[in-house]
Symmetry: C2
Subunit: 103 residues, 2 copies
Amino acid sequence: MSAKTREFTHPETARLEMTDVLFALSDPIRLELVRRLAADGPLEVAECQPRSGPIPKSTLSHHVKTLREAGVIRNEPQGRRRSLSLRREDLESRFPGLLDAVL
Amino acid sequence: MSAKTREFTHPETARLEMTDVLFALSDPIRLELVRRLAADGPLEVAECQPRSGPIPKSTLSHHVKTLREAGVIRNEPQGRRRSLSLRREDLESRFPGLLDAVL
DNA sequence: GTTATGGTTCCAGTATCCTCGAACCATGAG
DNA sequence: CTCATGGTTCGAGGATACTGGAACCATAAC
């Protein structure tokens, strides 16, 4: 019940940079991850393995971090696991149409 | 009058990769260049200097090349100069809405 | 408490990219 | 032809990103 689990920092919607978002989406693994989040809703990190084959969890964690820091996804602790979700509304309000064009 | 000037290779519309396009657009200098092309129409390379301050022409040429190889812009010889233009229709047909969302 | 698990962090190695000067190239002007 | 110009290409240095193993951390289960 103690909340020792670190809450990650997420950039505010108003401060999202288009170049950062585009860069985060320009990697095949990350783009696939985002598309799956868009289709299947919130997922745990372990469920985000690319179809092309499993990658080490440290690598996956790195890509998740890149997407989070760019403001594309949210990473929230949920018990022992973590819930990844797409920041749909935030992205839509800041960069209208961008996410739809990418998905 | 001889056409010794090299024609650059431009990727076919059908073969444009979304990750390549997103990556090409994820650099501030290149994004600004694309936006100017969208607003002002075809430009020469020398006219594409960023407002933040002039950069060496070799650097600028490198960014132009990145955009061309990703299929974002066209680079055609025009006399002694070169004409840069946005591949609007190609991008629109391959990735509908993407360019509009970025501009 | 002990253990197993989902996930992050640290670190090093490799690869890729950005930058920029220098050399080069083709064209148009004189 | 000679020269100036717009632009590319080459090469090297530095910065940044991707990958992956190992250590670590907090939680849930036992």
